[in-house]
Amino acid sequence: MQAGSKLNIEGLSKTYKGSGGGENVTALRDVAIEIGAGEFVSIVGPSGCGKSTLFNIIAGLVRPSSGSVLLDGRQPDELLGSVGYMPQRDCLMPWRTVLDNTTLGLELSGVKKKEAQARARAEFERFGLAGVEEHWPAKLSGGMKQRAALLRTFLAGRDVMLLDEPFGALDALTRANMQQWLLDVWQENRKTILFVTHDVEEAIFLSDRVYVMSGRPGRVSLCVDVKLERPRKPEISMSPEFLVLKQKLLRPLEEAAAGGGAFIDDRPTLEEQI
């Protein structure tokens, strides 16, 4: 284990008992992932590769069958609550204003309402939400909802943030803008981020390292360091280095698709988004 490793996942396996005498299902087998402090790491994989199970284990929502999750080199007493978690859907509460949604984490850790709101307000500009503090979430566009959800995760103040396909439901243009914006925000604070996505290009563009997972049972089939210079601009996706990485990462995914385990794109279709 290298020094400065923030999150270290070793030999992680998860088997779900088959219901009603059915066969046991192995969702994860011997998964190992390491993230240094301040690193941006992505996991790419087809649906059903166990990404959600992995996230739920790291967030402390599900207990692994075996293996360990180490934070700062040691096993935390209680994993639940030690890691910031942003689910796939924005999960904003429609009965709270945007401001009161973003302070949720602070509120639950006992920060006084006034102070929590002041701390949240200070970030609204940077998160592209200036002016909508007192609005209901229903009035926001898809991109703004995701930014509000990110701000809520960010303000909860955990060192490690798990982001589960945060841009999966956005259209291509908004998605590209959000990726650039996320990099800018991350650049300023250097939180440790573990990011799940379907999109290989998104993973390369954002990350220091990309893990490819293949399904049934879920395991890491490839790990690639992304040594592209930062700060990155969208044009980088045209560079030869980028394309080489893309090809490298796509191969195991295509093999998985060809070899029985079909590669299914379960991102919502455009119709579903509208």
Partner: protein
């Protein structure tokens, strides 16, 4: 668009059609009775009903007061029972399995038929009336609140867990507010039922109240006066319904404002073409 008076216009557009329609129906009724020379004991003229209401105003108000008190207590008891059962049923799978079927079965029991029993058990005072009203109107509150408590997104509950919210905080901050719009739907149905319940209860055993008055006047074939009582009962029902709606508007501003703005997209990302 008209900048001024748009609100007045909206109110007029909402109120005028039903009022005009009611006036039309009343006019046809009046004409039918006058031209067809219908006996007063069969169908009185609307104008006679209004006159009777004015002449008997003291008696109507005194008896209405009795019935309103019964409805207020019965409705409050129905809310307590309905919401209490809903929370109990949603608190655990086992409790849900044990109670829910019986909740449905309880609605197969014709309450008016057991009303005389309730009188035998509890006496001729307020108690059997409050009980009947409660039994007639708690069901829609319970069922809708149960659905509402189920309506909260599971991802939101998980998110709250990762923010260290305990069971009570998850209930108060997520499940309860998510359930409120559903609960109010149930309250509106219950409001109408509670007036019916009050009339039933008074028919079984009472010495005052509007339901009792209907029974007495019917025996005397004082049809016009009976109609005056029925109109008073209807006014009470309408008032209760409007009161519930007003409360809903005050307590759930987000619910209405979010629905109104749906699809309008007041705040869009400049980069969000959707």
């Amino acid at each position: 668009m008209f900048a001024r008076g748009t609100k007045a216009r909206r109110v007029a557009a909402a109120v005028l059609p039903p009022v005009l329609f009611a006036l039309f129906v009343l006019a046809v009724w009046q004409l039918y009775v006058v031209i067809g020379d219908v006996k007063e004991s069969t169908l009185p003229k609307p104008t006679d009903i209004v006159a009777s209401m004015w002449d008997n105003r003291t008696m109507l108000i005194e008896n209405a007061w009795v019935t309103i008190k019964e409805i207020a207590l019965g409705f409050a008891a129905a809310i307590l029972l309905g919401v209490g059962l809903a929370v109990l049923i949603r608190s655990s799978r086992k409790v849900e399995r044990a109670i829910y079927p019986w909740l449905v079965v309880s609605q197969m029991v014709p309450i008016p038929a057991i009303a005389p029993l309730l009188v035998i058990w509890t006496g001729f005072d307020m108690r059997p009336k409050v009980l009947v009203i409660m039994l007639v109107s708690f069901f829609p509150i319970a069922v809708n609140t149960i659905d509402g408590l189920r309506a909260v997104e599971p991802e939101l509950m998980n998110l709250l867990k990762t923010l260290k919210a305990n069971a009570w905080q998850r209930f108060r901050k997520a499940q309860l507010p998510a359930a409120l719009p559903f609960m109010f739907s149930g309250l509106k149905v219950a409001a109408a039922l509670s007036v019916i319940g009050a009339v039933f209860a008074e028919w079984v055993g009472a010495s005052d109240g509007l339901g009792y008055l209907v029974l007495v006047l019917n025996n005397q074939t004082a049809t016009t006066d009976m109609f005056a009582v029925i109109v008073t009962l209807a006014l009470i029902g309408i008032s209760l319904f409007l009161l519930v709606t007003l409360l809903e508007r005050l307590l759930l501003p987000w619910y209405y404002e979010s629905r109104e703005s749906e699809g309008e997209g007041l705040h869009r990302d400049p980069d969000d073409p959707a």
